[in-house]
């Protein structure tokens, strides 16, 4: 089945220690998104790639970076995680920004 895969499902890191979250897709979609979702809140868009073009949301902290080496993969890098960065991170994909398909998420814990 075509799908969006996120690894790992659970990630524990230490305060200030860089961490990378991974997303891959078999849908061959040209747009990939990263969202941050805190408890009992709606997902908050951090940035997205439209093909190779990177689009950062205005209020996304510089601590968050992303890489998309090819169509199938996209990474979220948190350079110096703080306690406030503990959250669920959701990856999503779409064909030309219409319907978005979400992965299962990575739950990040910062100690």
């Amino acid at each position: 089945d075509a799908m969006v895969i996120q690894n790992p499902r659970y990630q524990v890191t230490q305060f200030g220690k860089p961490v990378t979250l991974s997303c891959s897709q078999t849908l061959n979609h040209n747009v990939m998104y990263w969202y941050q979702q805190k408890s009992s809140q709606a997902p908050k868009l951090l940035f997205h790639y439209y093909d190779k073009d990177f689009n950062n949301e205005a209020d996304t902290p510089d601590n968050f970076q992303s890489r998309r080496p090819n169509t199938s993969f996209c990474f979220l890098d948190i350079r110096s995680p703080g306690l406030g960065d503990a959250a669920m991170y959701l990856c999503a994909t779409s064909r030309d920004k219409v319907e978005q398909f979400f992965g299962p998420g990575t739950r990040l814990t910062v100690l």
Binding site: V4, S40, A42, A92, F102, P104
Partner: protein, 113 residues
């Protein structure tokens, strides 16, 4: 600016009862509207979508939604709720300066046995 309002933060219904979750949107043109469901610790699953055409939209898991332009609403309904429907439900519209999803704050559904 485009926005989505889900007036109910938390709803509890009895199993077998009918359900309606409210969603109001603010958007100048014809909206693309979505309902997503999220079980605890999981990603979002698309229940249904409205782009154009018939204003009553059928989705997965027995859900439907009706687009009412005059009321700027896109309410989600289910005639008979099952315990497995307990989850968080998000309404969203495609909009913003870059054509991304704008989510409501979500409605948490609890189901009583």
């Amino acid at each position: 600016a485009q926005s989505v309002t889900q007036p109910d933060i938390h709803i509890t219904v009895s199993e077998g009862a009918s359900l309606e979750l409210r969603c109001n949107y603010s958007y100048g043109a014809t909206p693309y509207l979505f309902w997503y469901v999220q079980s605890p610790g999981q990603g979002l699953q698309l229940l249904l979508k409205y782009f154009s055409g018939d204003t009553l939209v059928q989705g997965i898991k027995g859900f439907e939604a009706e687009f009412k332009r005059s009321q700027s609403s896109f309410n989600l309904r289910k005639p008979s709720v099952h315990w497995s429907d307990a989850a968080e439900y998000f309404c969203a519209v495609l909009g913003g300066s870059q054509g991304n999803l704008i989510f409501g704050k979500g409605t948490k559904l609890s189901v009583k046995p």
